[in-house]
């Protein structure tokens, strides 16, 4: 390893790691609750989210190659840096594959229904009600306000209940 590599490779390693982190952090920062999302901000966030799963893998591969090249002759400080870079790159590649909105509001994997008479719902609770053909369904707002989305099929019509 010559001198330019000795300085250049760690810098490249750092840049790749930062790049990988940004692939996770930019959308996470833009699409956060209670703040304003501008049209351009949202477009950027979605664009990044779409390429992030593939790009974080490419970045991780780059980080792995650089790390293995640097490791043998690395000082203790540099080795700490390498381990940090690897950890962050792996974390970023993992996080861009996670849907943390579904950590907060668990989806309904399979919906169960009870008859109107068997339901323990309070009389004054609000429901979203739908009737298609001969089938009538009620979706308590109490539940929908938490899960937000339910994919259902009523009288063979596929619907999505959203609240």
């Amino acid at each position: 390893m010559d001198k330019s590599e000795k300085l250049g490779l760690p810098v490249l390693l750092a840049l790749l790691t930062i790049f990988s982190l940004l692939l996770f952090l930019i959308p996470a920062f833009v699409i956060r609750p209670f703040t304003h999302q501008s049209e351009n901000g949202l477009r950027l966030a979605i664009a990044v989210k779409r390429i992030a799963p593939a790009l974080t893998m490419v970045t991780l591969l780059g980080v792995l190659i650089l790390s293995s090249r640097l490791w043998r002759s690395a000082s203790r400080w540099l080795r700490t840096g390498i381990v940090t870079a690897l950890t962050l790159s792996v974390a970023s590649a993992a996080m861009v594959r996670q849907n943390y909105f579904e950590w907060m509001f668990h989806p309904i994997a399979s919906a169960g229904f009870v008859s109107a008479n068997d339901s323990h719902l309070g009389d004054q609770e609000m429901v979203m009600a739908v009737r298609i053909g001969q089938e009538a369904r009620a979706y308590p707002i109490l539940q929908m306000a938490y899960h937000h989305i339910l994919n259902d099929t009523v009288a063979e019509v596929p619907i999505v209940v959203t609240y």
Partner: protein, 238 residues
């Protein structure tokens, strides 16, 4: 509530993000991004597609049950209790800051409105101004509409107040007012043509008996969110 088909394809949606406090969803089939309140794909392969809206009501459980005794109710999902199904959720959300503000029309950002779109026009009806014992009438794009609050005093439906191509006035039966306790079953409205109407919008007596008024879809929303997606909306004022 939407039909989950686009371009002839059945889709399955999941929660994927938030845009100015209205959530974003994605479909598993194409990964496209959809705005919940508009049913429109904003990004991805299906960008530009719009889901067909599914007419629905927001009713109290008791009222719904009286109308649909054989209906089915979504059961609480196992593992989720009172902590997730928070009864005070709406009150808590009301305290959160809003990402957008449109103060110029005399409404507060989080005022709950019922939004109606007709003939290319959008109008917001503040819920506390249309919910009450007396039906509230208005005209949107020349079409007469009436907001009716049900016997539970909470559920609101919107109808086109026309029968037999005639504009009709719906009003509360003064007889019912005199009774100390109004039973849900007796609840009805009168009109200028000698009909009585139930909360489903169907005539229970009079020349129109057996016929029903056309139901108008409305969307319950916060004012700031409605205004954001309907920038040219007007606000009901009477």
């Amino acid at each position: 509530m939407w039909k989950r088909t686009a371009r002839g394809r059945e889709l399955h949606f999941y929660l994927a993000g938030i845009n100015n406090q209205n959530f974003l969803m994605r479909d598993r089939e194409t990964g496209s991004w959809w705005q919940q309140v508009t049913g429109r794909a904003i990004s991805g392969r299906l960008a530009g597609s719009t889901l067909e809206s599914m007419p629905n009501d927001e009713l109290t459980f008791a009222l719904w049950k009286s109308e649909e005794p054989h209906g089915l109710v979504l059961a609480p999902v196992a593992g989720h209790g009172d902590k997730d199904y928070d009864k005070k959720w709406e009150q808590e959300v009301a305290k959160y800051p809003v990402p957008l503000s449109f103060p110029q029309q005399g409404l507060k950002d989080r005022d709950v409105i019922l939004g109606v779109e007709m003939g290319g026009q959008a109008r917001a009806f503040p819920l506390d101004r249309v919910r009450g014992p007396n039906p509230v009438e208005d005209k949107i794009a020349g079409v007469p509409v009436v907001f009716v609050t049900g016997p539970d005093g909470a559920s609101v439906r919107v109808f086109r107040s026309q029968w037999n191509r005639l504009d009709i006035d719906l009003y509360r039966d003064p007889q019912l007012d005199r009774e100390s306790e109004v039973k849900s079953l007796d609840w009805h409205l009168l009109d200028s043509e000698g009909n009585t109407w139930n909360f489903a919008g169907c005539a229970t007596s009079g020349p129109a008996i057996g016929q029903c008024l056309e139901k108008i879809n409305s969307l319950k929303d916060y004012w700031f969110d409605w205004k954001n997606y309907h920038p040219r909306t007007t606000v009901y004022s009477h």
